[in-house]
Amino acid sequence: MSLNTFSLAVAGLVLAPLLGGLAAGADRVVTARLQSRLGPPLMQPFYDVGKLWSKVTLPASHWQGLFVRWALAASLASDVLLAAGDDVLMCFFVQAASASFVALGAFCGSSPYSKLGAQRELFQLLAYEPVFLVAVVCLAKASGGFDALSIMAAQGPLLFKLPLVVPGLVFVVLVKLRKSPFDIAASHHMHQEVVRGVYTDYAGRDFALLEIAHWADVAVVLWICSFLWATGPLQMLATGLVFLFAAVIIDNISARLTWRTMLGRVAPLTLILATANLVWLYLE
């Protein structure tokens, strides 16, 4: 590993969660403005995590703390892999492992809501991960390599070769931002036992670490989305922001659906579209 790659990896490790936190803050501010409210400050997610870090509470299970730390390590590792220009497919599998650790931790809790939430989290994984995988394969096929550096070095924007992948990526961003489906989502103002089931037994520092892992996850997903227009750093940033704000606007102007709709309709439809794009790339 060269010194340059090492510096990029360290920058990814530090900056990606910070950018994910800022994205969460921007999401809450824009959502509030769309609802004619002033909303919290941009730094609110950081205050929330700082507050959770200071809380004194007993863990619901000792295993839970272990899974939270594994989830955080996996999420940060996926950021590092992307920042170092490494294999995007490996990054995808590592972030999927992080999501699985969150569900496994919830299964360790004693609350029935936690277990129900964990089961629904697995349904969610089943719905968006195949779409995300096909989208990554499409990116690799269109650019000629699985490593992030070759995707970013592709000639011209990949968006024009991958138009049918866009709905799939928007679906993935909506799910990863925890906007929809409403009976799994954990966005703010949606707090009930079943709705935020997966987070029921997480509290205090464990919950703070989980939130940081979530920021790192969001950064990875938006980063991969930005590969659709990777002609330069500013263009990538703009593409990531377009996906973020598209998800916020869709969430605010339309009803959130149930997990059954996600699993039975949205996931198959977006998977078919992304697969059709992949077939088209192979036939081209």
């Binding site: 205050y47 509470t57 029921t200």
Partner: protein
């Protein structure tokens, strides 16, 4: 610097757990009105949570009676420290017009320690928001004294 940020964060991010202990729903409606765009308490970082393990402030409306006293105590015990309790409305403060009823124990402070009392029947949203701010001032004082 990190310690100072953590103290600021505790004051800037109060998550409320609202428990209706036997209210007529008048105070509940006023409490939930605080979350609407008219009052928009989220601008102070306040959000309404449904899980005591995530909550910092327990907002209780209505009287305590023999049946719900155990649940109220249980919710309070599940909240991580430091935590605040706000009693909303005449019933929450003292039992109100129901205080002489045979099944009623009285106000919230008969079961758990209360930090801020909000009088009124029902309490106004402005008074509820003021109570949260007062409570946070008290929390800040506790944090400052603890350093």
């Amino acid at each position: 610097m990190f310690g100072s940020f953590l103290k600021t964060a505790q004051v800037k991010s109060p998550w409320l757990l609202h428990f209706d202990c036997g209210s007529c729903n008048g105070c509940d409606i006023e409490t939930l009105a605080c979350l609407t765009p008219v009052y928009d308490v989220e601008r102070f970082g306040i959000i309404n949570v449904g899980n005591p393990r995530h909550a910092d402030v327990l907002v209780v409306t209505g009287t305590v009676n023999q049946r719900n006293a155990v649940i109220l105590k249980n919710l309070y015990d599940q909240m991580p420290t430091p935590k605040l309790v706000i009693a909303i409305g005449a019933c929450g403060c003292s039992g109100g017009v129901f205080r002489e009823a045979p099944n009623v124990l009285g106000g919230i402070d008969k079961v758990i320690p209360v930090d801020v009392y909000v009088p009124g029947c029902p309490a106004k949203p402005e008074a509820i928001m003021d109570a949260v701010v007062l409570g946070l001032g008290k929390l800040k004082g506790i944090l400052e004294a603890g350093k």
